[in-house]
């Protein structure tokens, strides 16, 4: 069980090598094929999980609100999100006449790109990282920061005041919350002494970093919720004020792409939280990838629980919380971590 996926990967690699030999292709092509296979595997994982999460979100919300949630399609409604996907595919693709058509179209596609790209460095299990970059966590930060642009494009391209207002909020929120998010990771990186994901996981062999860095974990959770545009920080799509923010004009499959991206971001951010603070894919008895999934889903459930309980924060409070509370606190956390490291381990 432990090395199930690694074995599958090795099997693929063998077949690919054979294939390149049969086709008389240069050796390098085997590597490219493997990259393709990894990409497809990750994309499948993301899409499958996004579908599961749509269902899960609706169910969780329903149970928190003493309802049953979707229960029509399939047993206990588990096929509901599949039915939704089919419905969305069949819907008319509306592009507003006044929209900037290319930006409008491109935004829906571009939003999914950085979202999927960050999965390259996520350690799904022991030795199960697609690319174990030595700047792993920094790569995650860099790539996920570009997601802002796609949302901004969506808002601007729609040529709708609600959308524009929403995308302005996206920029204000995501650019400012990136700072405490990165700063909260710094504490962990300082203890682990590396940006590489596998090193960070290995450093938590004895004790999870949530024990050493509880404040950083708190900041990370708050900033990540804001980065995900979820739950008390869902201002960019604040339904009560600006309909659906940048997504107001989108319909059908394009809208579904934004939705998928949102849930894919939820998974990747939860995965990062699990890797940085909850020991990543390590744990007794069960195979490592199963531990990882359990931890990721625990984080996701936590995010959902928060979203369906806490009302939305106001925009000026949002900024105040960031600049007057989270950023100073995370700086203090870095300072304290540095001093503690100096005292206890002498670097």
């Amino acid at each position: 069980m432990e090395s199930l996926f690694i074995n599958i990967g090795n099997l693929c690699r063998e077949k690919v090598v054979e294939l390149t030999e049969v086709l008389n292709l240069p050796e390098a092509f085997a590597g490219y094929f493997m990259v393709l296979i990894y990409a497809i595997a990750i994309l499948t994982f993301v899409l499958l999980n996004a579908i599961v999460l749509v269902y899960l979100e609706r169910k969780i919300a329903a149970y928190l609100q003493q309802r049953l949630g979707p229960n029509r399609v399939g047993p206990r409604g588990i096929l509901q999100s599949l039915a939704d996907v089919v419905k969305l595919l069949g819907k008319e693709d509306i592009i507003p006449r006044a929209a900037d058509k290319w930006i409008f179209r491109l935004a829906a596609v571009l939003v999914i790109v950085p979202t999927v790209m960050v999965y390259a460095v996520i350690p799904f299990g022991k030795d199960m990282i697609a690319v174990d970059l030595n700047i792993g966590i920094f790569y995650f930060i860099a790539i996920s920061s570009t997601a802002t642009i796609a949302l901004l494009m969506a808002g601007w391209g729609s040529n709708n005041k609600y959308s524009l207002l929403g995308s302005m909020r996206v920029v204000a929120q995501m650019v400012s919350y990136e700072i405490p998010l990165v700063f909260s990771m710094l504490g962990v990186i300082m203890i682990a002494g590396s940006l590489q994901m596998s090193d960070i996981v290995a450093a938590q062999k004895d004790m999870w970093f949530i024990v050493f860095q509880p404040v950083a974990f708190l900041i990370f959770i708050i900033a990540a919720t804001a980065e995900l545009n979820r739950g008390p920080f869902d201002l960019p799509e604040g339904e009560q004020e600006i309909i659906a923010g940048p997504f107001t004009e989108y319909s059908g499959m394009r809208y579904a792409l934004f939705f998928t991206a949102e849930y894919a971001n939820l998974i990747s951010t939860s995965a990062i939280a699990a890797t940085l603070f909850l020991g990543g894919p390590s744990g007794p008895w069960l195979p490592s990838w199963m531990w990882f999934l359990i931890k990721v889903y625990a984080m996701i459930l936590f995010f959902m629980w928060i979203r369906w309980t806490i009302p939305r924060i106001r925009i000026d409070h949002l900024m105040k919380l960031n600049w007057k509370f989270l950023v100073p606190l995370s700086l203090v956390n870095i300072f304290v971590t540095g001093v503690a490291l100096k005292l206890f381990s002498g670097w």
């Binding site: 149970y63 928190l64 609100q65 003493q66 309802r67 049953l68 629980w305 928060i306 309980t309 806490i310």
Partner: protein, 137 residues
């Protein structure tokens, strides 16, 4: 402490998460309809003499009653049409009926695909049901 209120809220929702769902499971489980519910109408043909008070009492004029007199100069109802599209379900007609011939049933599934279907001929319905009930099971 700041944040305590948020935690209390989280506790409430978590408690309800493990609680029972309170929503009605309508098509699977029929809801309980109280006896006085204003649903569909039922006309007692034996009692109704077609006086038309119900029609007069209706604020929207949704009821049309036609009646004739038989050889004894006794009035009897020949047509009773009620237009559900105009009906407010206020119950003034039922209240107005001097002979308690009109009453509400608990039937609440009155939706229809066509506008014409909302004009219900209570007389027809009563007759049909009578024939049905006479037939052996």
């Amino acid at each position: 402490m700041y944040g305590y209120g948020l935690l209390k809220g989280l506790r409430v929702t978590l408690g309800n998460f493990f609680g029972r769902a309170v929503t009605e499971q309508y098509p699977e489980r029929r809801p309980f309809i109280s006896p006085r519910f204003h649903g569909f109408f039922q006309l007692d043909l034996k009692k109704c003499n077609g006086c038309g008070v119900c029609s007069l009492s209706c604020p929207n004029g949704a009821i049309q009653v036609t009646s004739e007199r038989d050889e004894n100069k006794k009035r009897f109802v020949t047509g009773y049409k009620i237009s559900l599209g105009y009906c407010l379900f206020c119950g003034l007609c039922v209240e107005a009926c001097p002979r308690d011939a009109l009453r509400f049933t608990q039937e609440f599934e009155l939706s229809s695909y066509r506008r014409e279907d909302f004009v219900c001929d209570l007389l027809e319905i009563e007759k049909r049901e009578k024939i049905c009930s006479r037939e052996p099971a």
